[in-house]
């Protein structure tokens, strides 16, 4: 069952809080992981793995480097769910 954008955003917020210690309410769509949230590429891998568990969507390393903002990840998860 596909999740709404809000649900994905909320789920992602929980993940980012757990992996990187950034409070979930700071994980808003416009934020850049590296520049705004101070999250490096290793944490991105952990976030991708946690997203796979939570949303059932795989984000391989070569896709991960294109996901710069929170919205990028939300959109990726949405698109992947639609085509699943």
């Amino acid at each position: 069952m596909a999740m709404t954008e809000q649900e994905i955003l909320a789920g992602l917020g929980e993940i980012v809080d757990e992996v990187a210690g950034v409070p979930a309410d700071q994980v808003t769509p416009d934020k850049s992981f590296v520049d705004d949230l101070d999250i490096d590429s290793l944490s991105m891998v952990e976030i991708a793995v946690a997203a796979q568990d939570k949303f059932g969507v795989e984000i391989p390393d070569d896709q991960l480097k294109n996901l710069k903002t929170v919205q990028d990840v939300v959109t990726y998860v949405q698109n992947a769910e639609v085509s699943a």
Partner: protein, 320 residues
């Protein structure tokens, strides 16, 4: 044909560790390659590492650590009948390190072999030693993890020269009766499909690794192995006094620890001032923890080795 009489179990009698004298800081490396102290601390967790002298060999370091463990065990060299050296960085393939180390320690004619399971080497060797004692093949085994990774590193490659370092750690394994079993069943495995993730191509080449792929694998595939080792030992994660994973990278160590369900367990973070010393990292970290009095005698500790191969192995042990 007869078979040997075994023992109910095996246990570790003592540990010993050795680090080369030369300390190399992040700043010193940053003078040679494009990196900086802050980046290294945050990505890998290392503040400084030890590098062996140019003429200091793997055998030298193994002898130093092995000698300390032997002395601490209260046994004499004559009591040791098997020496296993876990190493993947010997100066040359033959002769093996173990036979030389045995002779230099005054141990006469023991069984002696080297074991290459890269950074999982110590846990593999410990499992093998435990089995040898339990089966009655050997009475007391000297198990050493010793590495000189610095001689296989490209010191112009900033992705590897900041990580790998030198050192040795050792344990003496002996028999235990039922009440005293001190080495739990080893849970080991491999994934040769990922052989290309950490490798040295040939004699003229250096260590190469795909850091991101290794990070992803390590932070997903290993906590089930660790939990299985607890289950097989009959020790719940909540009972562990400490968790000593291979000191590959502080971020990997912390990520695995988060998934263990053992918040009370002291986490070994020896990498901070030791670097990644492959098969030496677990016994080095654990012997230092014991020396500092951070874990009590008789308490359960989970060991988890993992690395090139890909190979991995875990077991619960009791602190001597």
């Amino acid at each position: 044909m007869r078979v040997t009489d075994g023992t109910a179990g095996a246990r570790i009698l003592a540990f010993g560790g050795y680090q080369p004298a030369r300390v190399v800081t992040n700043d010193e490396i940053a003078e040679q390659v494009d990196t900086n102290d802050e980046w290294i601390r945050s990505r890998v967790g290392i503040v400084s590492r030890r590098i062996a002298g140019p003429d200091e060999t793997v055998a030298d370091m193994a002898v130093a650590a092995g000698g300390k463990a032997l002395a601490a065990s209260g046994l004499s060299p004559a009591d040791i009948d098997l020496v296993i050296v876990a190493t993947c960085t010997p100066e040359a393939p033959i002769p093996n390190t173990a036979a030389t180390v045995a002779t230099r320690l005054g141990i006469v004619a023991p069984g002696a072999f080297d074991l290459n399971a890269a950074c999982a080497g110590f846990c593999y060797a410990l499992g093998t030693a435990s089995d040898a004692v339990r089966a009655g093949t050997s009475r007391h085994v000297l198990v050493i993890g010793a590495e000189k990774l610095s001689q296989w590193v490209d010191w112009t490659d900033r992705s590897t020269c900041i990580i790998f370092a030198d050192g040795a750690g050792a344990a003496v394994v002996g028999p235990a009766d039922d009440a005293d079993v001190g080495i739990g069943p080893v849970v080991w495995g491999s994934d040769g499909g990922m052989a290309d993730k950490i490798f040295i191509k040939d004699r003229q080449s250096f260590i190469v690794q795909e850091g991101q792929a290794v990070f992803r694998w390590a932070t997903t595939a290993l906590h089930p192995v660790a939990l299985k080792a607890c289950e097989r030992a009959g020790v719940a994660p909540g009972e562990l006094a400490a968790f000593v994973p291979h000191q590959a990278n502080l971020r990997i160590i912390e990520a695995i620890a988060r998934k263990l369900g053992a918040p009370q367990a002291l986490l070994a973070t020896d990498i901070i001032n030791s670097g990644n010393t492959s098969s030496a990292s677990i016994p080095l970290a654990l012997s230092a923890m014991i020396e500092r009095g951070e874990v009590g005698s008789g308490s359960p500790v989970l060991l988890l080795g993992f690395g090139a191969g890909i190979s991995y192995a875990a077991q619960v042990i009791t602190v001597p």
